[in-house]
């Protein structure tokens, strides 16, 4: 319980700082903090495999890719908004207000669902967590029920790889 609030607070604060930060380099590093906190949450949810791929793939591979591009483009600071631009000043704050409205809306929807479902999903109702989080069970589901989706994913990765190479070539 305490750990949930600890990890949750760290994740939310780090994500907020990612968004409110002007330096992309700091944003990337703070996002890694947020990802590590989320990995802790996954462990609390009896999903160690998810926690491990969160750390290795997300915090490791994807964020290194982002860091590499930030350093390559030497983008240490955001440009100042041109005068009269759509994103200068006032309209920008409307976006922030809309985000707060979205949060309120989502939480309101959750509160309503809580009433109708009367605690059916109140945590840990299902199978015993030992088999649920095991890599063996996960692999069985992944390669039987989700075999087609798994193969399609491999095609997606090949397409993304070729696409990235083509896009980043000298002559577009």
């Amino acid at each position: 319980m305490v750990l949930f609030y600890l990890f949750g607070t760290v994740a939310v604060v780090a994500s907020l700082l990612v968004v409110l930060q002007r330096n992309p380099m700091h944003s990337v590093l703070l996002l890694i903090v947020s990802f590590v906190a989320l990995a802790g949450l996954y462990i609390l949810l009896d999903s160690p495999f998810a926690a491990v791929i969160q750390i290795i793939i997300y915090a490791g591979a994807i964020m290194v890719l982002f860091l590499f591009v930030v350093m390559l483009l030497n983008a240490h600071k955001e440009d100042d908004p041109p005068a009269g631009s759509l994103t200068a000043g006032g309209p920008l704050r409307i976006g922030a207000v809309l985000a707060v409205v979205l949060t309120a809306e989502l939480i309101w929807a959750l509160v309503r669902a809580e009433g109708t479902r009367d605690g059916l999903l109140a945590g840990g109702a299902g199978a015993d967590p030992g088999t649920l989080g095991s890599v063996r069970e996960l692999g069985r589901v992944l390669f039987t029920d989700y075999a087609f989706a798994f193969e399609v994913t491999s095609i997606l990765i090949i397409v993304a790889m070729v696409g990235a190479v083509v896009l980043a070539k000298r002559e577009l």
Binding site: V18, E78, T87, L102
Partner: protein, 100 residues
Amino acid sequence: MVPLEHYLTLSAILFATGTMGVFLRRNVITVLLSIEVMLNAVNVAFIAFGRALGSADGQVIMFFVVTVAAAEAAVGLAIVIALFRHRETLNPDVFTSLKW
């Protein structure tokens, strides 16, 4: 045991934070980072639901989301590099024409 609703609330807050980032930032790289925050918020919801319903499906879908995020990051950053080469800026307001 933390009730499912708390995880879903956390997920909602993270998702809204990511949305705010997409609107607020004037840097293509930070916009992509905000999208990653949103994808992670969805992952939290998937894993919490999978745990609450006692099925491994939540984790499997989280695995697919991570794969798609990796592909998206690779292609997105390649596009960012290509754009930077032509315009020497990362401000999305500058990229208004489809052809140059």
